[in-house]
Symmetry: C2
């Protein structure tokens, strides 16, 4: 795991913030929990650019949250690892909070689809 993923912070939240503290990471994980495993799948579900998606998928693979199959080459599948699956409670608590406290209205995160 490269240095930019890990953190010297003695606090697990400080370390986690380096990965989870990104809008696209949260949205990519949402789609992963809904079953998405392909690059172009995320691309069509989110209004994300190819470059940024490639960057975030690499980040999630480097962090051990997603596993790429095959490890190199094209037409890869990105699957949730044990670590990624363990993020489900985090996802659900965010979902619960957003549902309770955030009103709807304003910007879209799906490009309007």
């Amino acid at each position: 795991m490269p240095a930019y993923i890990t953190s010297r912070s003695p606090c697990p939240v400080g370390r986690a913030s380096r990965i989870l503290g990104d809008r696209w990471v949260i949205l990519i994980l949402r789609e992963a929990f809904l079953g998405e495993q392909r690059f172009d799948g995320w691309l069509s579900r989110l209004s994300i650019s190819r470059a940024v998606l490639a960057d975030r998928l690499n980040l999630l693979v480097d962090a051990g949250i997603l596993e790429r199959e095959p490890p190199t080459g094209k037409r890869a599948l990105y699957m949730l690892s044990d670590s990624g699956t363990a993020l489900k409670p985090v996802y659900q608590s965010i979902q619960k909070w957003g549902d309770m406290w955030l009103p709807v209205g304003g910007h879209s995160d799906t490009g309007g689809q």
Copy 2:
């Protein structure tokens, strides 16, 4: 609440990602849960710049997560609102996940203190 806080996304996670999907927001909330209420307190605990801290505190106030007392002027206290307090389960689930799945080592989020 201004438009840039809210989201047209039908998904509560999509809406929440606009606020929680930021490294500094997560770290500011960590300190808030530990009792921090003052601008210079966050400034000395995190290696954040004044401009970015001011921006994120305004964002959190606009989102209703922190309450500023008094609403204008200097020497303000920033206190967790009900909505902010309701983020504690999110914080704890991130803490639990980071503790379980993220190794220590690499960069610091405290400026070395």
